[in-house]
Symmetry: C2
Subunit: 207 residues, 2 copies
DNA sequence: GTCTATAATTTGATAGAC
DNA sequence: GTCTATCAAATTATAGAC
C-alpha cells in the first residue's frame, strides 16, 4: 500500500472516464471504446471490472447521485433559518450546475427514460434521498409567524431548482438564443448567484 | 387528389412517428425499427424517404425547431406592453413544456452535443430565429419610465424560460423528489400558470 | 411505393496468451 | 491484471421482386 497517490488504480480511472463520457453523450450515445480511450486502457478491462455497459452505467449513475444527495442533505438538515437555507440551496445548485452542466441533463434523461427504475435506484442508495420535511416545516413556521405569504413549499423548491439549474444546463442554446458571447454568458450566470435567492425571497416575503 | 384526409401520406406518417420516438428515446436511443413500427410501415420505407437515420433525425429536428420558433416569434413581435408580453411568453412556454415535455430535453441535448452544428441549423431555418430585440427595447423603455428596476432583459428571459420549462421537463424526478402523486404534480403545474408571470413581474416592478 | 430478404457495419462481449 | 484477437448480437442500410 505504498502506491503513489497520483496514479489512480484502474477501476477509479474507468469510473472517472465513464462518468465524463456518459454525462456528455448519454447512456446510448456513449461507446465503450470511447470510454476505454478516455481512461487510457483497453476495452476488455471495462468488462473485466464492470461486466457490462449496463452495469458500468448503473455504477456511474449511482455514484453521481449519491455524491450529490449527500451534499444536498447537508444543507437541508442544517440548523438554519428559511432565508439562510434558500441562499445556501441556491448557491449549492448554481455551483453544481455551473461546474458540471451535463449532470442535470444526465439525471433527468435517465429518470424520464425509466421512472420506476430510477426511483428504485435512488431509494436503495446508502445516502438517504434528500428530505424536504425540515424545509417544509420552516416554510410553515414563517407563514404562521406572518413573515411570508401563504405559499406551498413545493413551489419554492421548484423555483429554486429551475432558476439555478436550467440556464446552466441549456448554456449553448441560451448563448445562441440571447446572442451572448461565452464571456457575457458566464458573467450573466455570475450575476445570478447574487440575484436568484433574493428573487425567491422577494416573491414570498410579506411587505 | 381525392385522397381521404384521414389517411396521411407515408412521409407524414414517418415524420410524426420519428418525432415521437426521437424525442422520447433521443438521437441514439431511437431505433429505426421502432420508428417503422410506430409509423405502421416497413423499415425499408424509412430509407426510401429519408436515406439515412441521420437525415431523418435532421429533418425531424429542424421541423420541430421551426414550428416552435414560429409560435415564439408571433409573441415576441406582437404589439403588446412588457407585462402583457411576459404573461403571453409564460403561457406559451408553460403550455408547450406541459404538452410536450420531451421536446426541451431533445433540443437541449442536441445543442449540447453539437453546438456549432445546432447554430448553423437554426440560422438556416426558413422561420427566423426568435429575435428578442423588441423585448429588450420594451424593457429599456420601462426602465427609462421608472416603472421597473434596472434589470438586464437577458436575466428576465432566463427566468421565464427556467421557471416554465424546467419543472415540466424534469417531471418524473420532481414528482419523486417532492413526494407528489401524478395528480398533485399536475395541479402544482396548473398553479404555476397563474403565479409565474406575477413572480417575474413582481421581481422587476418598482414599488 | 411497398415489401422481404440480406448485406454491411457498428459495437458490446469474451477467449486465451502473457 | 492487462493485452490482442475474435466472436456474437444488434442495427443501419441496400438489393431486388412485386
Amino acid at each position: 500500500m505504498v502506491k503513489s497517490a497520483v496514479i489512480q488504480d484502474t477501476e477509479a480511472k474507468i469510473l472517472a472516464a465513464a462518468g465524463e463520457v456518459f454525462r456528455e453523450k448519454g447512456r446510448d450515445g456513449a461507446k465503450m471504446q470511447e470510454i476505454a480511450d478516455a481512461a487510457g486502457i483497453n476495452k476488455a478491462m471495462l468488462h473485466y471490472y464492470f461486466r457490462s455497459k449496463d452495469q458500468l452505467f448503473e455504477t456511474v449513475f449511482t455514484q453521481a447521485a449519491q455524491h450529490f444527495f449527500e451534499k444536498l442533505n447537508g444543507i437541508l438538515n442544517a440548523d438554519k433559518t428559511l432565508f439562510e437555507m434558500i441562499h445556501l440551496l441556491c448557491g449549492a445548485y448554481l455551483t453544481m450546475a455551473t461546474e458540471n452542466p451535463h449532470f442535470p441533463l444526465f439525471i433527468i434523461g435517465e429518470s424520464n427514460r425509466n421512472a420506476e427504475g430510477f426511483m428504485k435506484k435512488i431509494f436503495s442508495l446508502k445516502a438517504k434521498k434528500p428530505e424536504f420535511t425540515r424545509f417544509k416545516k420552516l416554510v410553515q413556521d414563517e407563514i404562521n409567524l406572518g413573515h411570508i405569504n401563504n405559499v406551498k413549499p413545493e413551489q419554492i423548491i421548484m423555483n429554486i431548482l429551475s432558476l439555478c439549474i436550467y440556464p446552466a444546463m441549456a448554456k449553448p442554446m441560451m448563448k445562441m438564443g440571447l446572442g451572448l458571447t461565452e464571456k457575457e454568458f458566464d458573467s450573466a450566470i455570475e450575476e445570478r448567484k447574487q440575484s436568484i435567492a433574493d428573487l425567491i425571497i422577494g416573491s414570498i416575503r410579506k411587505n
